[in-house]
């Protein structure tokens, strides 16, 4: 029996791997004394794939049998190259429990090909979640991918059992979607998405009145956009994301660089296509600025701007477009402004504010606070550091940044940024050398 399961596991994990989301954060499920598991933390990456992505959840398809024919998907009906298999509900449940107890995973991310219709498929996913919660007292993380077109009743049940729900938009424009996924349209996607959004809002409201009211997808809702299969620009993509955050109240939008599989001429061909690794990475950085740094869409990607600057990170790009807003005085600027300085993160900005309550912050202090001076040096002042270059020539600043190694590549996984607690990699074994303070 095991042999069979291991083969299914290989096939159904392989088919699910292109889904970028692997977050296990945002859950609020506490364990019970007799249960197993919790998902109250900031999310844990239990391992990393050899391509550097976080492995947090057992991420598999229930089945890779699919009646749809989406060109970008390995499980599409017309692909004769794959072996079609399906788990049973018990198999997924046992795998999840066995992996969870060994501390391999934070929980389960279950999705599926549409083997019959949206509801029959969603029912299976819900059955797995129900069995885990009710028969095994499982309080770990469950993320269910809702099948476009699923009925409201099933969504309600799914939301009661899962920590997070997602409906993948996949293609960043409806026209693009119709091109590559003839059976899908935005209605099928946004219908369930809206239902989940309202379910989350209602449950929150109920819990305000009554602490014991049931939770509904407490980890929120997310979606994924496939980048590069269709011709949308970064500006168009970010415009969509911005709307998804503000209107659909999504917790996260994931960007998944298209990996061409060949055999379908509706999408780019593996022979000629270069994976947009860098592009995906810049999109994550821009998305981060929208969500965490209070940037407006037009500041990050001006209307009609096409793709993001590939040479420098979006924050540097912004600073170079608005040089007259800089440099910023480290000892006077409000926190929100410090955070807008390239090379300064939320944490280092807070450290500056904390330190200057007690005295003057000098140039050498900044390094110890985790400021990336290579980039930041052009955009901020201290009593002992007064940069001029930006005033004279923003282009020269760009040259210096691009030429040096300060291109702003964050120390994060390129695909699914790691949960915040791991965002700054441990400096390994050696302590950072102490910085001599100017007396």
């Amino acid at each position: 029996m095991r042999r069979q399961v291991i083969e299914k596991l290989e096939i159904l994990a392989d088919a699910a791997k292109y889904d970028a989301s692997c977050a296990s954060s945002g859950g609020k499920r506490e364990n019970t004394p007799t249960g197993i598991g919790n998902s109250t933390g900031a999310g844990i990456c239990h391992s990393y794939t050899e391509d550097g992505r976080c492995v947090s959840l057992l991420k598999v398809l229930f089945s890779n049998v699919c009646i749809y024919d989406c060109a970008y998907c390995v499980s599409r009906r017309s692909n004769d190259e794959v072996t079609r298999v399906a788990f049973t509900v018990d198999e997924v449940v046992e795998l999840t429990m066995g992996f969870y107890k060994r501390n391999y995973i934070e929980g389960l991310f279950l999705s599926s090909g549409i083997f019959k219709d949206a509801d029959t498929t969603t029912e299976k996913l819900v059955a797995v979640a129900r069995k885990l919660r009710e028969d095994h007292g499982f309080n770990g993380y469950i993320h269910l991918k809702v099948i476009p077109g699923a009925s409201p009743e099933l969504l309600t049940e799914a939301g009661r059992l899962a920590d997070r729900l997602s409906v993948n938009v996949e293609i960043p424009s409806e026209a693009g979607l119709k091109e590559v996924a003839p059976e899908k349209d935005y209605n099928q996607v946004f219908g369930p998405m809206g239902h989940v959004r309202d379910g989350i809002a209602e449950a929150k409201e109920e819990r305000r009145k009554n602490r014991r009211a049931p939770r509904f997808a407490a980890g929120g809702q997310s979606t994924q956009l496939v980048i590069g299969a269709t011709p949308e620009t970064d500006r168009q993509i970010l415009e969509l994301s911005d709307g998804l955050y503000s209107e659909q109240k999504l917790r996260r939008v994931y960007y998944s660089g298209f990996v061409p599989l060949g055999g379908d001429d509706r999408v780019p061909d593996p022979e000629t296509y270069r994976a947009p690794l860098h592009r995906e990475h810049r999109l994550y950085q821009a998305d981060w600025l929208l969500r965490k740094y209070g940037f407006a869409l037009d500041e990050v990607a001006p209307p009609g701007s096409g793709n993001l600057d590939s040479e420098v990170d979006p924050k540097t790009s912004y600073a170079l477009r608005f040089p007259y807003l800089f440099p910023v005085d480290v000892n006077a600027a409000p926190l929100e402004w410090l955070q807008r300085v390239p090379g300064l993160g939320i944490r280092s900005a807070k450290r500056i504010v904390a330190a200057r309550r007690r005295g003057v912050v000098r140039w050498e202090d900044l390094r110890a606070m985790g400021v990336v001076l290579k980039r930041a040096q052009f955009f901020l002042t201290t009593p002992d550091h007064r940069p001029q270059l930006l005033d004279r020539s923003p282009d020269a600043v760009r040259q210096r940044i691009v030429g040096g190694k300060g291109d702003g590549a964050p120390q994060l996984s390129l695909f699914a940024p790691a949960p915040v607690r791991l965002a700054t990699p441990a400096s390994g074994t050696a302590p950072a050398p102490p910085i001599a303070r100017a007396a």
Binding site: R2, V259, R358, P431
Partner: protein
């Protein structure tokens, strides 16, 4: 190095208590011991230049005075409450920092505690004040190592006389066992599990509630050699194989990126990661103890 405890802090002026370069204290090495050391030195109006373990004389320096601090829970509790009132979370930060086992960190912790007492909460987050920065940085390093242990320890199922035990082995860089119990106790409250620190020869052992005597804590830290081990459970190898198969299957080969991979999973963790073992292989010192 500017870690010399006599460096005058800038810019808020020296903390009320000076460091006496000839004063050394000895404690039992616990957090409570360190908190008591603060109470004791405060009474003497001077901070020590070194904090050592009772019975292990401080090396190198010649100290005129060695003060042996007895740990008293009541005193430690008082100091803890006082500090927490000023800066919530500070005692946890200090605890993590000293678990980094870095020489001199206890002195930094005492200076920080005293600065907070003398000058208020702002001192704790001022990274231009060296003790504050050192404690925060070490707390961060130890916290990250603990977080990695929460992520990377792998339990294996053993059975003896019908009872199962879940055993994990690791070699943490820092002494993180004392801060791992909370996470794993809430995660696996009904399982008998243990985490062995092979570097230090210690094990964090969890006993599920029904098997505990009244008043016995859920976890203890004991020498690893005192623990017996049953037989590997019959399904253990199959789960390990499935996990390795899964790990292989989720990699996108077109995007293999070893540098990035190593940054996330440094080589030193590999000997204890199930997914890094050869097919069918058994971990080198799995279940040591």
């Amino acid at each position: 190095m500017t870690t010399s405890p006599t460096t005058p802090p800038r810019p808020a002026g020296p903390p009320a208590l000076p460091v006496d370069p000839h004063l050394a204290v000895e404690t039992d090495g616990t957090l409570a011991g360190l908190l008591c050391a603060y109470a004791e030195t405060y009474k003497r109006s001077a901070l020590p230049a070194s904090v050592g373990l009772i019975g292990e004389p401080a090396s190198g320096a010649l100290f005129g005075d060695v003060l042996r601090v007895e740990t008293e829970a009541a005193i430690a509790g008082r100091v803890e409450r006082g500090l927490e009132r000023l800066v919530p979370g500070l005692v946890g930060r200090i605890h993590r920092a000293v678990l980094g086992e870095r020489p001199g960190i206890e002195v930094a912790a005492l200076r920080l505690a005293d600065a907070v007492r003398a000058e208020g909460a702002a001192a704790a987050d001022d990274w231009t004040f060296e003790p504050a920065r050192e404690v925060a940085q070490w707390s961060g390093r130890v916290g990250r190592e603990a977080h990695r242990m929460e992520a990377f320890v792998r339990f294996e199922r053993y059975v003896a006389d019908d009872a199962e035990t879940w055993v994990a082995t690791a070699r943490p860089e820092y002494h993180v066992l004392p801060i791992l119990h909370g996470h794993f106790s809430t995660r696996y409250p009904t399982l008998a599990w243990r985490i062995v620190d092979a570097r230090r020869g210690l094990a964090l052992v969890h006993t599920p509630a029904p098997e505990r005597a009244e008043g016995e804590p859920a976890t203890r830290i004991v020498p690893a050699v005192t623990l017996g081990l049953g037989d590997e459970a019959p399904d253990e190898a199959a789960y390990q194989r499935m996990w390795r198969a899964y790990f292989q299957a989720v990699t996108i080969p077109e995007r293999r990126n070893l540098a990035l991979h190593l940054r996330h999973v440094p080589k030193r963790y590999w000997p204890y990661l199930t997914e890094k073992q050869p097919p069918g292989g058994v971990r080198l010192d799995a279940g040591v103890g």
